[in-house]
Amino acid sequence: MRILLVEDDALLGDGVCAGLRREGDSVDWVKNGETAILAVNETSYDCIILDIGLPKMSGMDVLRKLREAQNEVPVLFLTARDQIADRVQGLDAGADDYLVKPFEFSELCARLRALTRRGRGSATEMIRYDGIEIDTAAHTVSHKGDTVELSRREFDLLVEMIAHQGQVLSRAHLEQKLYSWGDEIGSNTIEVYIHHLRRKLYPELIRTVRGIGYIVARE
């Protein structure tokens, strides 16, 4: 998953980043509202973790700006305030979920998964496609009952492709989804991952649209 973290506290930001990366997500970390807006305009994120207590432009302002710009990316906000009014304000401003500090890291992960799942329009952790079963919580994939070992990026690529079945996804789009800023991207890495997926699952799963990108046929 490509996640944007907006948090001005160095220690907390560092922790969330490290934790999510260990979970296999790509995280971009910005420390103020303006940069967050710029980042969202540049990149398509699966989810945003937004701290409400930012200096100058507050998280609430960022959220309003996003929703005004018709950006529907799922947003989970972090708040130090446990009053119901504070939370309601955040949800009213267009957030999808919230966590009150301090929080359990596993809960953060679960809520992020739930948010992205909702973004995909799926109600469970499981994604099924033509004999392939993907458990997004456990990060496991099976094909016709046999467990398939996938790397983190292969897994993300597969989920992205199946989530957008019937659409041609460009290589640039996929790169954006898979890598955070500063990640080293080889010129043919996406092709390599596509190749791996075809080999580990079955070749007809992903078709190449020459010069444009890749497509998974609608089931």
């Binding site: 220690l11 907390l12 922790g15 490290a18 500090k101 301090p102 929080f103």
Partner: protein
């Protein structure tokens, strides 16, 4: 002493004096008028008797008159004289009549006629006018009159206790009236004052009934402007109190929330350490945990420091402080930090008078400003500290760090506010502490751009 008894005491004293004074004047007047009236009657009686006696003498002779008088007594003579001397308005056998007497003498000193109660000796040794004499132990007022066309002298006399009785009687009436008036006035005054003070008692009762956390304004309407004044003053105080309490509440709440972020970070890094895939990750996370605990400790220490900076308490401990020595000590204490970042600490002072202040809190001020300056100054930078003597002592600390933008300068003094784009960890309380210390010393604090155009200049005047 209560207002009620004070007012009552005062007003009763004043009314006693006024009523008493009036009564005294009345008494004097009555006494003089009575005296005049009785004297006039005495004189008139003399004249009357003399003219009557002269007229009777022509017809009967003095012996006949005396016989008649002796036979009938004074009372009969008075009946005969009644019409002539009705100005006396004495009734028949009036209690006062026996206290009247007269004599008629001829020019060679023979007593011609006398009333039965008159002595044989002259009632008065004066030939003319009023006189006071004592006869048989009684005080008498006499009036002598010599007839203009005959050799007769008439002396009328009246016992003084008659007029004195009258004066005493009138005086007694006045006294009763005085006592009654004073008593009536006291009651009226007591009731009026009681009624007047009632709203005050009501207000007090209303305030007494309140619980400690009820800071609502007093809404009742009062008719009297004095009570309204008190009510308004109280309401203003209540509003101010509510303000202060709300501010304190907000600070506590802010502080509690401010602690959540470092706690969240500590928890997160602890979880990461627990789930670390290798020893290296584990150590890295644990180091972050320790860092987080240090930061939280610092935050709590700063909050406690701020809470302890109670203006009243500190102002009572003011003494002479050598600010220069204090700064040198703090510089020495912080120089390891500066040396680590190769920052040059440059201190210069002129002749400084000792200032009246609180050494410990001034130390906090210097330490917080210096720590900030060192923290925000990049490696190899410079922090300059100058102490000058104007009408106040002026401490200027300049660094060549990033400075604080114009819009942030006003807000950095607020608790927990941290200017943006900081690369330095801090809790956002340092400048609040500095500001509080400056306020306690009734000084001023200014933030400005450093003279070289890059960095922050802090000017403290105490």
């Amino acid at each position: 002493m209560s207002i009620r008894s004070h007012l009552l005491f005062r007003l009763i004293i004043v009314s006693v004096m006024l009523v008493g004074g009036t009564a005294w004047l009345g008494y004097q007047d009555v006494r003089n008028e009575t005296w005049e009236l009785f004297d006039a009657q005495l004189a008139r009686s003399s004249r009357m008797i003399l003219s009557l006696v002269q007229a009777q003498n022509v017809n009967y002779g003095f012996s006949k008159i005396q016989d008649y008088l002796d036979e009938s007594g004074l009372a009969v003579m008075y009946l005969e004289f009644q019409d002539a001397i009705n100005e006396l308005e004495t009734e028949h056998a009036h209690a006062y009549e026996s206290k009247l007497a007269f004599q008629i003498w001829d020019d060679v000193g023979n007593l011609l006629v006398k009333s039965y109660n008159a002595p044989l000796e002259p009632l008065s040794d004066r030939t003319d006018g009023f006189n006071d004499v004592v006869i048989d132990g009684y005080n008498w007022r006499t009036f002598s009159l010599v007839s203009s066309n005959g050799p007769y002298r008439c002396i009328t006399a009246e016992r003084l206790d008659v007029r004195n009785d009258l004066i005493v009687k009138i005086s007694n009436d006045l006294l009763y009236m005085f006592v009654f008036l004073v008593l009536a006035l006291s009651v009226v005054l007591y009731l009026s004052i009681d009624k007047g003070l009632k709203p005050l008692q009501l207000l007090a009762a209303q305030i007494n009934r309140r619980s400690g956390d009820n800071l609502d304004l007093i809404r009742s309407d009062y008719r009297y402007s004095e009570i309204v004044t008190i009510k308004n003053a109280l309401n203003q105080l209540l509003a101010r109190l509510e303000d202060t309490l709300a501010r304190e509440k907000r600070v506590t709440s802010d502080a509690a929330h401010e602690l959540r972020t470092p706690l969240a970070a500590i928890r997160l890094h602890a979880e990461l350490a627990k789930g670390a895939e290798n020893r290296e990750q584990e150590i890295e996370s644990l180091e972050q945990v320790i860092h987080g605990v240090d930061r939280t400790t610092h935050l709590i220490e700063q909050l406690l420091t701020l809470a302890r900076l109670e203006p009243e308490l500190i102002a009572s401990e003011f003494a002479d402080v050598d600010l220069s020595a204090l700064i040198v000590e703090e510089c020495a204490l912080l120089s390891p930090l500066a040396i680590n970042k190769q920052i040059e600490l440059d201190y210069a002072d002129a002749d400084i008078r000792p200032i009246q202040g609180h050494a410990d809190s001034l130390r906090l001020l210097v330490r917080n400003l210096l720590t900030n300056a060192i923290a925000y100054t990049p490696e190899g930078g410079q922090v300059s500290i100058r102490l000058e003597q104007a009408d106040k002592t002026v401490l200027t600390i300049e660094d060549n760090g990033p400075g604080i933008s114009q819009e942030d300068r006003a807000r950095v003094m607020e608790r927990f506010y941290r200017a943006e784009n900081h690369q330095v960890t801090g809790c956002g309380i340092g400048l609040s502490i500095v500001d509080r210390v400056v306020q306690i010393h009734k000084g001023s604090l200014e933030l400005d751009e450093a003279d070289n155009g890059h960095g922050l200049k802090v000017v403290v005047k105490i």
